[in-house]
């Protein structure tokens, strides 16, 4: 059954979209990852224009993260003060990112920029994930010492210190805003939540306790993806609500399945497969830059 996507202006099989949402949902449920970085390149591969894929995916992440954010909020696993600093940075980053997006769109180079970002991002994530999972596999029987959270000296040396009660910290507010800013740019250019970056950054750079990390990052993600959705809708007319909705339907069901599969199977050992998937997607996008194209000319509609 075909469905016409009103903003992307193409007809796509409805089950393909729900299925993609479902598969990515299963993977994100199994491995506890956001899924935006998997979904957006898959949308490129099925022919959704990158600009539409990114903006609609940001909206999907908003929906997919919302319930998690509420659950953590109820359990008081959110450091609100830190969250607001991250959101402040995130919103600024999103405004900046959408502006970059608009400029490159006008130059006809948007696709190049989005894809280059993805090559770098998928490459780095894939390699890290691959080696981490190799380590987990080989050290599985032994006891690995848990890495101690450490505060970088440069973080402690920064001014504008604030007290964060929920995280039990007294640190500068500058790094939190900067982290938020960086993730906001990623959200608007790549259509990802950025949990991948923000979680390690909170633990290793800010030194936040793990208990509040996930909740606070989800709290930040829903605000930043919300603002990103709005800005893309207003500035670039690139949010396809039908696309986001179908991906949400598949994604939510998939995530529930994924969590159950993850409990039964040893997901940590399957993580190496996820790493390989990420690396192969990276490779596919990279090759497109070097293989002589079949069609040299392309037409882009003026909006």
């Amino acid at each position: 059954m075909q469905i016409y996507l009103p903003i992307a202006e193409i007809s796509v099989n409805i089950f393909l979209l729900i299925g993609l949402g479902g598969i990515v949902g299963i993977l994100s449920g199994m491995f506890g990852v956001g899924g935006g970085f998997l979904m957006t390149p898959l949308l490129f591969f099925i022919g959704i224009p990158p600009a539409i894929a990114v903006a609609s995916e940001a909206n999907q992440i908003l929906g997919a993260s919302f319930s998690g954010a509420i659950a953590h909020f109820r359990r008081k696993n959110v450091d609100l003060k830190m969250g607001f600093l991250l959101i402040l940075g995130g919103v600024l980053g999103s405004i900046f990112g959408v502006e970059i997006f608009r400029i490159f769109k006008g130059m006809g180079q948007l696709e190049l920029i989005i894809k280059l970002c993805y090559v770098i991002f998928l490459g780095v994530i894939g390699i890290i994930m691959f080696f981490e999972s190799l380590k987990t596999l080989s050290y599985k029987s032994r006891n690995i010492k848990i890495r101690k959270t450490r505060h970088h000296s440069w973080v402690q040396g920064l001014p504008l210190k604030m007290r964060f009660r929920a995280s039990n910290l007294y640190i500068s507010s500058i790094p939190a805003v900067l982290i938020g800013f960086f993730v906001g740019i990623l959200a608007s250019i790549m259509g990802i939540g950025g949990g991948f970056i923000i979680v390690p950054a909170m633990i290793y750079i800010l030194g936040m306790p793990t208990k509040v990390v996930v909740g606070t990052s989800l709290f930040q993600i829903i605000f930043v993806t919300g603002v990103t959705t709005y800005l893309h809708a207003v500035k670039n007319f690139s949010v396809d609500i039908v696309l986001s909705f179908l991906l949400l339907v598949g994604g939510v069901i998939g995530a529930q399945l994924g969590v159950r599969i993850g409990i039964r199977l040893k997901a940590e050992q399957l993580r190496i497969l996820l790493a390989m998937l990420v690396l192969s997607m990276c490779l596919k996008i990279t090759l497109e830059f070097f293989i002589t194209p079949l069609e040299f000319y392309s037409l882009v509609r003026d909006v």
Binding site: P6, L112, V242, E295, F296
Partner: protein, 259 residues
């Protein structure tokens, strides 16, 4: 006296007009109709078809070689014009990247041509140009002439997306009078007026051209979403946020009960 003059002038004019009618041959004209006047795009739109019917009408009182066959028919369907930027992939630092070539002022978002014979067999290029028949005549560039290479690529791009159909099955002309043609619309249609131009051709000359309009419009949810997204983007952005949040929230309620 005045009345008499008027009468003389009237008779004179009547005679003049009848003489001119007799001396010039009236070429045959076209009578045509479309099976649909409106095509609606809704959420489940998966392309559409319509028929063009027509007949060649000759003047009974007239016996003239212009009424004799061979007649040929060319039918063009021209979608609403769109403005496009052309990019060409060029190798730079080992990468294939897009380079903007120029802006097309207008090109048809859809184009289909069919005929009893192919256009190039029926009309010389010069006549095609003066009558504005053929795909190249509908592609206009912002500055200067468009290189043939670009036109070819625009056309092959359109063909690949099924927006340009240049190799349709030939039209058969029954008894040198009746004809019909089926047009296939693809899924990626633009909203607007689609011109249907029917040309009657005899010995490399266009005898008559009839123009009809078929209107393609988005309806239902489709139209609604499009209107909001482009006319009320702020409202649309907020609606997208609300829909995503309420879906996420609803799903968490449903699954919490099951677990």
């Amino acid at each position: 006296m005045k009345l008499f003059f008027k009468l003389v002038i009237m008779i004179f004019i009547y005679n003049l007009s009848s003489i001119s009618a007799r001396s010039a041959e009236v070429p045959p004209s076209l009578v045509t109709d479309l099976s649909k006047k409106v095509i609606s795009i809704d959420v489940s739109f998966s392309g559409s078809k319509f028929h063009i019917f027509g007949a060649i009408k000759k003047y009974a009182s007239q016996i003239s070689p212009i009424d004799q066959p061979p007649f040929d028919i060319i039918i063009e369907v021209i979608g609403p014009p769109v403005e496009m930027n052309i990019f060409k992939k060029e190798k730079k630092y080992g990468f294939w990247i897009n380079k903007k070539i120029q802006t097309l002022n207008s090109m048809p978002s859809f184009y289909s041509i069919s005929g009893t014979k192919s256009l190039k067999d029926l009309l010389p290029i010069k006549t095609q140009r003066s009558n504005e028949i053929g795909i190249s005549e509908h592609i206009n560039l912002s500055d200067g002439k468009l290189k043939k290479e670009f036109i070819d690529h625009i056309i092959s791009n359109g063909k690949a997306k099924k927006q340009y159909n240049l190799n349709n099955t030939p039209i058969t002309l029954l008894e040198n009078t009746l004809f019909s043609n089926e047009i296939d619309f693809p899924t990626n249609l633009y909203e607007g007026n689609y011109k249907v131009k029917i040309h009657l051709i005899r010995f490399e000359e266009v005898l008559a051209t009839k123009q009809d309009i078929i209107y393609v419009k988005k309806i239902g949810v489709q139209n609604w979403i499009n209107y909001l997204a482009y006319q009320e983007p702020k409202l649309y952005g907020i609606a997208c946020i609300i829909i995503a949040i309420s879906f996420g929230f609803g799903a968490s309620l449903v699954f919490r009960k099951k677990v």
